[in-house]
């Protein structure tokens, strides 16, 4: 009995170790044949993971219209949709990779191509896919890594400064600021306070994501995040520190308050009249159409590109790409190309209030009607994107909490940027 019990335990232990090594081996086999061809018939069931097409209208657009058109074109291909949001997208991809269940088509953010392409998660697309339509060169740049095309842009988002024309007029301000000195001076004129507390922000940089806002500041200050190779940190110079210092300065000037950011779904501080200038993305126009149409009707909102030494507009967006693990790569590539056609891009941009990145859509009724989108397209030559290093997925998660340490006064701007640079250098060192 003793012997059999021991045997049983030993067998179980060995089994567990065997399973563990099998799991590890399975986890390790991520090669995925990135170089394999996508030629072949467009058929099979594919899955798409998307942070876009959210809500009832988004789902109706994707499944009720776009995928029906796709199925009509490729009747042997069927598409299953896995919806998520931008906050959970990263985790969904990680767990998909760990579990060996990565969707065939991934809709990812700008800056994500280098890390995933470097790790051979993405399958390269033929160069011809990038020239089929007149994608703007700046728009296509984040889709490439190491000279190869890995993604196609579906929609873009741009960060600009929106301002209240009525506040400017009341304060006798004729033109938007040309640099940060003017920005702070104008913000002081526009800000209102009661009992030492800001009641109207002159300039609100806290209503958009801190990471993206800081990046926009870095670019507007003539800085860059990484060098061309993606192996050298560049944001830790004076320009990066000054970019973070701007947040602290506007709080010190009592022209901004970090707690002003409204809860999700509420009108922005600019719409509420609680801010005179605000960093925003292009979705603001859609929100104004839905929540505060009078601001559009009365032409109360203007916009300008942030500038200190350079004029810079942070360009984000959503890119479609094919998983290197896909068993139906031809179908997956066909879907990515389909979602990046003008006929699919325009309604997607309209649904989200985003910018379509195809030149022929410049004259569409949607762009002409949406002044913010039109403005972003007019200033696309000033757009700069985040990322640029294969270590970006690790670094991007650290940016916000590290910058926050300065915003809340735990660290100076220089110390916080130093901390972030150390994290980034360590992450790059692990490549």
């Amino acid at each position: 009995m003793d012997l059999s019990r021991r045997s049983f335990l030993a067998a179980t232990g060995l089994g567990a170790l065997g399973l563990a090594s099998t799991a590890l081996t399975a986890g390790c086999s991520t090669d995925g044949g990135a170089e394999a061809s996508a030629s072949g018939p467009v058929e099979g069931e594919i899955t798409v993971l998307t942070p876009m097409y959210q809500g009832a209208t988004g789902k109706q657009l994707l499944e009720g219209t776009l995928l029906k058109q796709f199925h009509k074109k490729y009747p042997k291909a069927t598409v299953k949709v896995d919806y998520t949001d931008y906050n959970s997208l990263n985790e969904k991809i990680t767990t998909g990779l760990a579990g060996g269940l990565l969707p065939d088509v991934l809709m990812i953010g700008v800056g994500w191509v280098p890390p995933f392409a470097y790790k051979k998660v993405l399958a390269p697309l033929p160069d011809s896919a990038g020239t089929k339509y007149d994608y703007q060169p700046r728009v296509l740049a984040p889709s490439k890594y190491d000279g190869k095309l890995y993604a196609l842009p579906v929609v873009l988002d741009a960060r600009v400064v929106a301002y209240r024309k009525d506040h400017f007029e009341a304060a006798g301000i004729k033109a938007p600021p040309k640099d940060w000195t003017e920005l702070r001076a104008i913000a002081k004129e526009l800000a209102q306070a009661k009992g030492g507390k800001v009641t109207r922000a002159g300039f609100d940089p806290f209503s958009i994501d801190l990471r993206q806002c800081w990046e926009n500041f870095v670019f507007a200050n003539g800085g860059r995040l990484f060098d061309e190779s993606g192996r050298k940190v560049l944001f830790d110079d004076d320009r990066g520190v000054e970019a973070l210092q701007l947040f602290l300065d506007v709080v010190k000037d009592k022209v901004a308050d970090p707690s002003f950011a409204p809860a999700a779904g509420q009108p922005s501080t600019l719409q509420q009249g609680r801010a005179s200038m605000m960093m925003t993305d292009t979705a603001l126009w859609l929100n104004m159409q839905q929540q505060t149409p009078e601001l559009i009707d009365e032409d109360k909102v203007g916009m300008f590109v942030l500038r200190n030494t350079d004029a810079a507009m942070l360009q984000g967006g959503t890119l479609g790409c094919v998983s290197a693990h896909s068993q139906h790569r031809a179908a997956a590539q066909a879907l990515v190309e389909f979602l990046a056609t003008p006929d699919a891009v325009l309604p997607a941009a309209e649904q989200r209030g985003s910018v379509p990145g195809i030149s022929s859509l410049r004259d569409s009724a949607y762009v002409k009607k949406n002044k913010l989108v039109d403005f972003a397209l007019s200033n696309l030559d000033k757009s700069v994107s985040e990322g640029g290093t294969p270590a970006w997925m690790e670094i991007r998660e650290k940016v916000k909490p590290t910058l926050q340490t300065a915003v809340v006064g735990q660290r100076t701007a220089k110390q916080a940027i130093g901390d972030l640079a150390s994290v980034a250098k360590a992450a790059i060192g692990r490549l």
């Binding site: 009995m1 179980t12 986890g27 985790e91 990680t94 767990t95 998660e397 915003v407 735990q410």
Partner: protein, 318 residues
């Protein structure tokens, strides 16, 4: 479970002369059969534990010595992850945050739960309703709970600030202030943890012998004296259980952080489990996350041993 052996109790091998009588053999055969049945009954639970707890534990231990990003094969780096953890300010911060969170949520929630359990153990009109109401947060999805608390803590128009305003106090940025974010999360933790603790205490209270209370009443002991002299000492096993499970629960708190603060501002509410999650699923550092989770595991073992020494374990008579 009775284990049988071919050897006698003294360890000497039996000869044919001292072979057991048929009746003894029958007893031994029956007990051997019971032993097999016992193993058979334990087998599903054992397999379940081996597959879902043992295997991930082995995998986590192995991976903690590697640099593994899910995308490429793991590379053995020895104690590299552990030395990095030793110098990781954010992980240190998360350890302090977790300790602070556990230090406030566990005893406060336990004290409130005990008081409520004692109240609900007495004769009270609508007792079942109150018991259900107190237990409700435990069975409500944390997402739903956290969304309600998000509204309560909303700096513009939230209930908490409305109460402060009613009292003539200035509004507070509950979740975006480094001063108030942790207390706000602790309050949610306390509120959510009371139900289960109350239930365990209630079950334990109902098992206490009534004759002791009768004797104490005859001796003229007040209710308060009875509570401290009889109830509390007799509840020691339940208290140990509640304390250990609460500490483990506090160390594993995750979902309310995920919804309420995302660990911010500036990592002031980042707990150890949340940091493990971020390392694994947001930063693609599985090996590092495994090492972090082993540190958490070691932490919990040490705390459980300490708890046992301090509270006296399950021995209620000690």
């Amino acid at each position: 479970m009775v284990m049988t052996s071919a050897r006698s109790a003294t360890g000497t091998r039996r000869t044919g002369a001292d072979r057991p009588a048929p009746a003894t053999r029958r007893v031994r055969t029956a007990s051997r059969g019971r032993g097999r049945a016992g193993y058979l009954m334990v087998a599903p639970a054992f397999l379940h534990m081996a597959l879902w707890t043992g295997l991930p534990l082995v995998a986590a231990i192995v991976l903690s010595f590697t640099s593994y990003d899910v995308l490429t094969p793991p590379k053995f780096i020895g104690l590299g992850n552990f030395t990095e953890i030793a110098g990781d300010a954010v992980f240190r911060r998360s350890m302090v945050n977790t300790l602070v969170y556990a230090f406030f949520t566990v005893p406060v929630a336990m004290a409130i739960a005990l008081v409520i359990a004692v109240l609900l153990n007495g004769r009270l009109r609508g007792r079942s309703l109150f018991r259900t109401a107190v237990f409700l947060p435990q069975v409500t999805a944390t997402i739903a709970v956290a969304l309600v608390w998000l509204w309560i803590y909303n700096p513009q128009g939230g209930l908490a600030n409305a109460v402060l305003s009613f009292l003539g106090l200035s509004p507070v940025n509950w979740l975006s202030s480094t001063t108030w974010a942790m207390p706000a999360v602790i309050v949610v933790g306390i509120w959510q943890g009371i139900g289960l603790k109350m239930l365990i205490y209630l079950a334990a209270l109902q098992g206490l012998p009534s004759d002791l209370y009768e004797a104490a009443s005859v001796d003229g002991a007040s209710k308060v004296r009875q509570f401290f002299a009889i109830t509390l000492p007799l509840l020691r096993p339940a208290t140990f259980f509640v304390f250990v499970t609460s500490v483990i629960g506090a160390f594993q708190s995750f979902d309310q952080i995920y919804i309420l603060t995302d660990g911010g501002p500036a990592n002031t509410t980042t707990m150890m489990t949340y940091q493990v999650y971020k390392s694994a699923f947001r930063e693609f550092r599985m090996g590092y996350a495994c090492a972090e989770s082993l540190v958490l595991f070691a932490f919990l073992i040490v705390l459980t041993i300490l708890n046992r020494r301090m509270i006296g374990g399950t021995d209620g008579n000690r």
